[in-house]
């Protein structure tokens, strides 16, 4: 049975080695100048190293260029794409059509993955970006399992689905944390903390904690729970979804590596020995629960949840 690729986001180059050994088939890296919400910051020299390490381990490297670009960065996109092509990365992840136009101009053979996060919600849109040049569509996290399978049935492009980790709920161009400190008159705080990780918004009514952070792309607010569907992989493996992603953003490296090992096992068993998978899947879920940080409860995201409007 066809196995989906296991795609993970590493924290640094050394972490790529660990993840490859843990069973990752591909990694997604990049820097905040061009990419959104990455687990680690990979400058150009890190990308060169990352590709070397990946080659040694025979895994793929995808680079994020999925920021929402304003005019000021448009002119430098070509140089970056060329660099990525020369470095031999396996694909570029984009959301903004400016990246697609640039790739057509300077590296027409580069593989493209379409990933706007929230807007990949129907199979037609996935195929549309396929006709424009994308080889893969990364689905929105806000659609359910049935919709995912239906999209795969109609898809003319590869389909990637996030199976683990937190997801983005909100991106603003405004400096919302900095603005709050400024409103409080704590100007010192801005320099000290603005780019800190580890801040969260507490929502009393729902008793939820939403991680919030700022970077070059603005302010990001993340989901209060980590998705984990290690025990619910059967339908998507049967449907031959092409890639399963573990997003490690705001997690420790050991945690990401451990989770990768468990999904490696789960995917292999699910594809090769279904009975055994059914026997151990609850155990695998329990093992992840055991290493879960206290502030990050697990849930199944929108896989089994309906939204209304």
């Amino acid at each position: 049975m066809k196995k989906p690729e296991l795609l993970v986001t590493p924290i640094d180059v050394a972490h790529i080695r660990d993840l490859a050994e843990a069973g990752a088939d591909a990694v997604m890296i990049g820097e905040q100048r061009y990419g959104l919400r990455l687990a680690g910051e990979f400058k150009r020299e890190d990308i060169v190293e990352a590709v070397k390490v990946a080659r040694e381990h025979n895994i793929k490297v995808y680079v994020a260029m999925n920021a929402i670009f304003h005019n000021d960065k448009v002119d430098e996109l070509g140089d970056y794409v060329k660099f990525l092509a020369d470095t031999g990365v396996d694909a570029i992840v984009f959301g903004d059509p400016a990246v697609l136009m640039t790739v057509r101009e300077v590296a027409p053979h580069m593989k493209l993955h379409w990933n706007t996060e929230t807007t990949a919600t129907n199979w037609y849109a996935c195929n549309y970006w396929g006709r424009k040049g994308a080889k893969r569509a990364v689905l929105a996290r806000e659609i359910n399992m049935d919709a995912i399978i239906e999209i795969k049935e109609h898809a003319e492009v590869e389909i990637e689905v996030q199976v683990h980790g937190m997801t983005c709920m909100f991106q603003s161009k405004r400096s919302l944390i900095g603005n709050y400190f400024e409103y409080q008159g704590k100007v010192m705080e801005i320099e000290k903390r603005k780019y800190d990780k580890g801040m969260f918004l507490y929502d009393k009514e729902r008793d939820n904690k939403y991680p919030i952070f700022e970077d070059e792309n603005g302010t990001h607010i993340m989901s209060p729970n980590d998705i984990c569907i290690i025990d619910e992989l059967e339908d998507m493996i049967d449907a031959e979804i092409d890639s399963f992603k573990i997003d490690g953003i705001l997690h420790e490296r050991e945690y990401i590596t451990e989770v990768t090992k468990k999904y490696r096992l789960a995917i292999d068993l699910c594809a090769e020995n279904r009975e055994e998978y059914r026997k151990v899947k609850d155990q695998l879920l329990a093992e992840i629960e055991a290493i879960q940080p206290v502030h990050r409860p697990l849930d199944t995201g929108f896989f089994f949840k309906e939204t209304v409007y």
């Binding site: 005019n71 697609l100 037609y124 659609i143 400096s175 918004l201």
Partner: protein, 423 residues
């Protein structure tokens, strides 16, 4: 003076510079009555929502018959109707789309405002007469992305609210496509299309019109330090908030006209008829005054005061004039009360007897001071004397919604003029 490449903005006529490229004033309407008022008060085009495929699923939306009637009304005044069909569709929304778009084409609307490529391409295939405008839901922020959509054959793009004047100038210079930009109204604090707070907090899909404005709620900001939660606010601080002030670009209209922006858009399909009338009429006056004599133009105080009469939040210019800071957000406050209520709609006026026939829209009584406004008149105040009902019975107050009443008004008023009352 900045001049965009593609169009001639102004010309010297009889020794005086005048604007020859006048932008479209585009207004929102949540129902037929608001649509008519928007056009009568000076909108060149109106955008409305149909029963499906538009955001704002809880606004009153138009049936196809109402859309057709709206188009007939608009045509009489040379105005255009656009329909927002800007959801990001899910698979389950695909059946029915062909029929819906054909219906819009048959109803005679000029164009649709779209975000999802599914709807863009389906419209091209089944309803080719419709213009396709790219919605702000796509968060378009750079000229190269605009170029992409131009090559896809779109007639117009609505830019992201995060674009600045300088960025718009560059986009206009590099790409020959119609640009629509927001000038007034409430807005998302997130990049449009990139916020799913409501999905997570209330299981309502914001990208299909279910947003419940979670960004307007209060939160507490903490920092996690070696497992300990540390509050990043003092007891007396207002909670963390991301509620933006409403957009108000009245001061920037001259700059926007000189940039050659093709359509100036007012937000607010959920807003009241009083809001639509007030905001449209003010911007109509600003645009007309600037275009007639740009070099001697000044913003009148009364225009600013007029806009304030229907504002239920403080306003700010947001990104057009640079990245907004904390002063363009609201902390500890959620909205303010408007200072005026809409009190009546003029149906008729008898010049001989000076009697107005008016439909009551809010409580008023003899002795109240009210204000009349509308496209044909300058605002004036009037103290109400006796009030009669349709049958000539004297009333101690106009207290029944939509009741038709008569009373004396010294200056001439016209049908669809409005009466408002301070409180």
């Amino acid at each position: 003076m900045m001049i965009a490449k593609n169009d001639k903005i102004s010309e010297i006529i009889n020794g005086k510079r005048v604007i020859v490229k006048k932008p479209e004033l585009l207004a929102p309407a949540g129902n037929l009555e608001k649509l008519k008022v928007a056009i009568l008060y000076g909108a060149d085009a109106v955008f409305i929502g149909g029963q499906e495929y538009g955001l704002r699923s809880n606004a009153d939306n138009f049936t196809l018959e109402e859309i057709a009637e709206g188009v007939r009304f608009a045509n009489k005044y040379g105005a255009k109707i656009y329909v927002t069909t800007n959801i990001y569709a899910h698979n389950e929304n695909i059946p029915g789309l062909d029929k819906y778009l054909k219906g819009l084409e048959e109803a005679g609307v000029t164009g649709i405002i779209v975000a999802d490529p599914l709807i863009i391409e389906t419209a091209r295939r089944v309803a080719p007469k419709l213009e396709v405008h790219l919605s702000t839901q796509q968060s378009l922020t750079n000229w190269k992305a605009v170029q992409f959509w131009k090559e896809e054959g779109l007639e117009r793009v609505v830019l992201a609210r995060e674009t600045s004047a300088e960025e718009i100038r560059e986009i206009k210079e590099k790409v020959d496509i119609e640009i629509e930009a927001f000038i007034h109204g409430a807005m998302c604090i997130a990049y449009s299309g990139r916020c799913v707070l409501s999905n997570h907090m209330t299981a309502r899909d914001s990208n299909r019109g279910g947003c419940c404005q979670s960004c307007r709620w209060d939160y507490d900001l903490y920092k996690l330090d070696s497992g300990k939660e540390i509050a990043l606010f003092d007891e007396n601080d207002a909670p963390f908030a991301m509620s933006p002030k409403d957009l108000n670009l009245i001061q920037s209209i001259p700059k926007m006209i000189e940039l050659g922006i093709d359509s100036l858009k007012i937000e607010g399909r959920m807003k009241s008829i009083h809001y639509v009338a007030t905001v449209v009429s003010v911007y109509r006056k600003v645009i007309d005054a600037y275009c007639a004599d740009p070099d001697n133009f000044v913003i009148k105080k009364e225009w600013l005061e007029e806009l304030d009469k229907c504002a239920n939040r403080d306003t700010a210019p947001a990104f057009f004039e640079g990245v907004p800071g904390y002063k363009e957000q609201m902390f500890g406050v959620h909205s303010k009360k408007t200072t005026y209520d809409f009190a009546g709609l003029v149906l008729d006026y008898d010049k001989e007897t000076k009697m107005v026939t008016l439909q009551q829209r809010n409580f008023f009584k003899p002795g109240d001071e009210v204000e009349f406004f509308g496209p044909q008149i300058d605002n004036f105040t009037q103290v109400i004397e006796k009030i009669w009902d349709e049958d000539g019975n004297e009333l101690d107050a106009a207290r029944h919604p939509l009741q038709i009443v008569k009373f004396k008004v010294d200056k001439e008023v016209f049908p669809y003029n409005m009466m408002r009352k301070g409180h």
